[in-house]
C-alpha cells in the first residue's frame, strides 16, 4: 500500500514538473507525449529500437545491483563498458581472419567480459589495499578508458587514410552478429538479457552469496563479527559488475555499431546507475524501469524531427524521475 502511494506520488510530481517545464519552453505537453508514443510504439521498427536499448541497460543494471547491494558506488561502470568494447574490437581485428565467425564472436565475448571484470577489479583492489574510495578510482579509470578508446581510434586502429570521430573501420560483415531477416534486434541477445536478469534474481533469492553481500552492505562491522569476508566479497561483486559491463560493451560493439566509436558506451553505464537507484537497489523493478528509460531514450529522438525540440528532453525527464523518487522516498522515510 505504501509502495503504491510512493509510486503514484512520484508519477504525479514528475509529470507535473515535466509539463511545467514544457509549458515554460512554450510547447504543448500533449504533443510531446504523443511524439514519445509515436517514437516508441507506432511501429515494430520503433519498438525494436527500444529493445535494442533495453538489452544493454538491463545487463549493465544487473551488474550494478551486486555492487550497490554491498554499498559500493561503481561509478567506474562506464569505463568497464568501454573496455568490453575495446576487447571485442581487438579480437575482431586480430582473429577475424583466422577462425570462423562463430568462434571469433565467442572469443570476443569472453575477452569483453574479462577486460570489463579486470577493469572493475582494479577499482576494488585500490579500495581494499589503498583505501581509495571506489567513486574516485572509478571516475579516474573512466577517463583512462575514454583516453584509451580515443587513442586507439586515432592511433593504431585508425581508418586507412584518415582518422575520424566516426570510429574505426567497421568489422568484417562476416562477424556482425547474425540477426534474422526483418528483426532489427537479435533474439539471442534478448534471451541472454532475460537470462542475466533471471540469474541475478535467483542469486538474490536463493543463494548464500546474495544474502552475504546484502549483509555486508547493511552492516560491515557485524559482517566481520560473523566471520564474513568483506574484502573478498568487494572484489567478487566488482568483478561480476565489470563482467556484465563488459558484456554491455560487447553488445554495443557487435550489435549496434559494428566498430569501435568514441561514444561506444552511449552513457548506458551512467543511465544504469540511475535505473538501479530508481529501483531502490532491488532487482524486481529493474526490467520495468529499464524499459521506461529505453522508451524515453528512443522516443526523444523523435522530438527534433516533429516538434523542433532538443532530444536531450529525454534525459531531463529521466533526471526528474530519479530526483523525485529519491526525494519522495527519503521524505517518506523521515516523516
Amino acid at each position: 500500500m505504501d509502495r503504491v502511494r510512493t509510486i503514484l506520488t512520484v508519477v504525479a510530481i514528475s509529470t507535473l514538473t515535466t509539463c511545467g517545464a514544457l509549458l515554460i519552453v512554450g510547447t504543448n505537453p500533449v504533443d510531446v507525449f504523443s511524439a514519445f508514443f509515436k517514437g516508441t510504439f507506432s511501429s515494430w521498427r520503433h519498438f525494436a529500437h527500444v529493445i535494442n536499448v533495453w538489452i544493454p541497460l538491463v545487463i549493465c543494471s544487473c551488474g550494478l545491483l551486486f555492487t550497490f547491494s554491498l554499498g559500493l558506488w561503481n561509478i567506474g561502470v562506464e569505463g568497464q563498458i568501454m573496455l568490453g568494447a575495446v576487447g571485442t574490437a581487438w579480437v575482431m581485428r586480430h582473429l577475424a581472419d583466422m577462425t570462423n565467425p562463430t568462434v571469433t564472436l565467442g572469443i570476443a565475448f569472453l575477452m569483453a567480459c574479462l577486460l570489463g571484470a579486470i577493469w572493475a577489479t582494479l577499482s576494488g583492489i585500490l579500495k581494499i589495499k589503498s583505501n581509495v574510495h571506489e567513486i574516485f578510482s572509478g571516475l579516474g579509470l573512466n577517463f583512462v578508458a575514454q583516453a584509451l578508446v580515443l587513442w586507439l581510434i586515432f592511433g593504431p586502429w585508425k581508418r586507412p587514410g584518415v582518422a575520424s570521430m566516426s570510429g574505426t573501420r567497421p568489422f568484417p560483415a562476416a562477424v556482425w552478429f547474425p540477426v534474422p531477416e526483418g528483426w532489427r534486434f537479435s533474439p539471442i541477445a534478448l534471451v541472454a538479457a532475460l537470462l542475466v536478469m533471471g540469474i541475478t534474481a535467483w542469486i538474490f533469492i536463493s543463494t548464500r552469496w546474495g544474502l552475504l553481500i546484502r549483509a555486508v552492505g547493511n552492516n560491515s562491522r557485524a559482517a566481520e563479527v560473523h566471520g564474513i569476508s568483506i574484502n573478498g566479497n568487494f572484489l567478487l561483486a566488482m568483478a561480476v559488475a565489470g563482467f556484465l559491463a563488459g558484456m554491455t560493451g560487447y553488445y554495443q560493439a557487435v550489435f549496434v555499431y559494428h566498430r569501435l566509436i568514441p561514444a561506444i558506451s552511449s552513457n548506458y553505464g551512467y543511465l544504469s546507475l540511475l535505473v538501479v537507484m530508481l529501483a531502490q537497489y532491488r532487482w524486481t523493478p529493474v526490467p520495468f524501469i529499464a524499459l521506461l528509460f529505453a522508451m524515453l531514450h528512443v522516443g526523444s529522438i523523435q522530438l527534433p524531427l516533429t516538434l523542433n525540440l532538443d532530444s536531450s528532453l529525454g534525459g531531463v525527464i529521466q533526471g526528474i524521475l530519479v530526483l523525485t523518487t529519491l526525494g519522495v522516498v527519503h521524505f517518506r522515510r523521515n516523516s
Binding site: 536463493s206 548464500r208 546484502r214 552492516n219 557485524a222 563479527v225 560473523h226 566471520g227 564474513i228
Partner: protein, 489 residues
Amino acid sequence: MNVILRNIHKFYGPVHANRGISVTFREGTIHGILGENGAGKSTLMKILAGYTPRSDGQILINGAPVDYSSPGEALKYGIGMLYQDPLDFPALTAIESFTIGLPETPICLPSKHFVKLFEELTRRFHFSIRPEIPVEYLTVGERQQLEIMRLVAAGAQFIILDEPTTGISIRQKEILFDALRQLASSGRTIVLVSHKLEDVVNLCSEVYILRQGKCVGHVAAPFSKAELLEYMFGQIPPPVSRCILEKGATVLWMDRVSASWKKTTMIRCSFRVRQGEIVGVAGLEGSGQETFLRVAAGIATPHEGDLYLDREKVTGRKRSYFKNRGIYFVPNDRLAEGLFPDLSLMDHYAIAFGGSSWLIPWKTIEELARERMETFSIKGQVVSKAAGLSGGNQQRLLLSLLPANPRLLLLEDPTRGLDVESATWIWKYLQNLAQKGTAIVFSSRDLDEVFAVSHRITAFFEGRIALDAEVNTTTVDEVQKTIAGLFRE
C-alpha cells in the same frame, strides 16, 4: 505544569506499542515510569517530547489540548527530554554546545551573558563542568548534566529523563538525583523512565507501571518493591546465583599481548580461560577490556605477544578462522556491530546456520527460525527487520544465533539496558552453556552482576590487567578501587 496524556495509541507498522495509555503528571512532583524492555515506556515519552507522532489520543497541558510535531515545538510548551544518548555536539566546547541549543542563540559565541548563566547553573546544581572543556572529553554523566542545564535555561518546566542512570558513576547519580529534587521543589515536573527499581524507589513520589503497551498500575510512595515487581512482570523473578565450576582444559591463552582497537589499547596482557569457566571482566569505559575481547575474538590483531587456542598459535589469523574454531563474540552495541538492521530475522538465521552450501535451504531455515524464536522467546515475525526489535529481543536474537556448543563465548555488557527478567533469563542460558563446557568471558559495568555469576574476576585499568583473582579471594570494594586506579596506594 500539569500534563495529562489521554488514551495514547501508537502503531509502528503492525506493532501496537502503546495501547490506550492514560496518565497524569502533576506539577512539582517526580514521577516514575517503570516497565520492562519493550513495555512501551520510551515510545510514550518520545510522543510526549514531540520526537514521534502519536497514532491516536490527546495531550493536555494545564487542561488545554495541545499539538506539536517536533522536540523544538514541545520545548516551546516547556517540555524537554534528556535522551539515553545526550543530544550534544562532541566537536564543540561545553559552553558552545550549551548556547547553541538555546532558543535565543547569539550569532557570535560565547557571549558573556551565557557564560554567566552557565556558571550560575553549575553552582546551583553542584555540577562541576568547566565551560571551555570540549564535549568529547566529558563523561556520560557530565554530558547529562550539561543537557539538564540547557533544558532549564531553555525554560523547560517539564523534564523527561530516559534511563539516566545507565553508565554513570554512583557519585554522579547522587548529584543528578539532588539536582532533580531541587528542580521539582522549584515547581517543575520531572518524569524518570527506568527499569531499575532502586532508582525509582529512591527518587520518585509516584510511579506508573507499563506492561505490554498498557498502563497496569499507579502507585504512590512509600513503595513496596515486591508490589512493583509484580506489576512489572506478573511474577517475581528469582535472583541469579553462581553455577558450580568443573574446570577443564585451557581454551584460550594470551601471552603478553598488546593491541589497540579504535581508541582503546591493551598493554602486555596475559590471560587464560578454561572450559566451563565464567570470567567477569571489570573496568571503566575505555580501560582496554573492549580491545581485550576483540583480540580474543580475532577481530583486533595483536601487535605484540601471542594468542593460543587449544595450544595452537593463532596470532594474526582471520576472524573466520576463530569462528570456525568455535569462538563467538556478542558485542555491546547490538545494532552497530552485532546485527544487520535492515535484514529480516530469517536472513540472520540463514547467515548463522546456512552452512557453506551455495543455496540457502529456506524451508529448513524458516522452521529453524521459528523454533529458535520460540525457545528464546523473541517477540517478532520471521520476516521482521532486526532494527524493529526492542533491545531485549535484539539481545535474545544475538544469543539465538550462537551454535549449541561454542568453545568460547565472549560477551560485552550482555545485559546492558535489559530488565531484570530478561537478564535473569540470559544468565540462566549462559550458565547452562558453561555447565556443558563452554568457556565464557564477559565484561560488565555492573559489578554486582560480575560478582553474582563469575568464577574469576579480571579488572582492567589503563590498558593493563590490574587484578586477576578467584571470586572468593577478592571483594567488590577491592575491584572498585582497582578499576579506579587506587590499587597503587
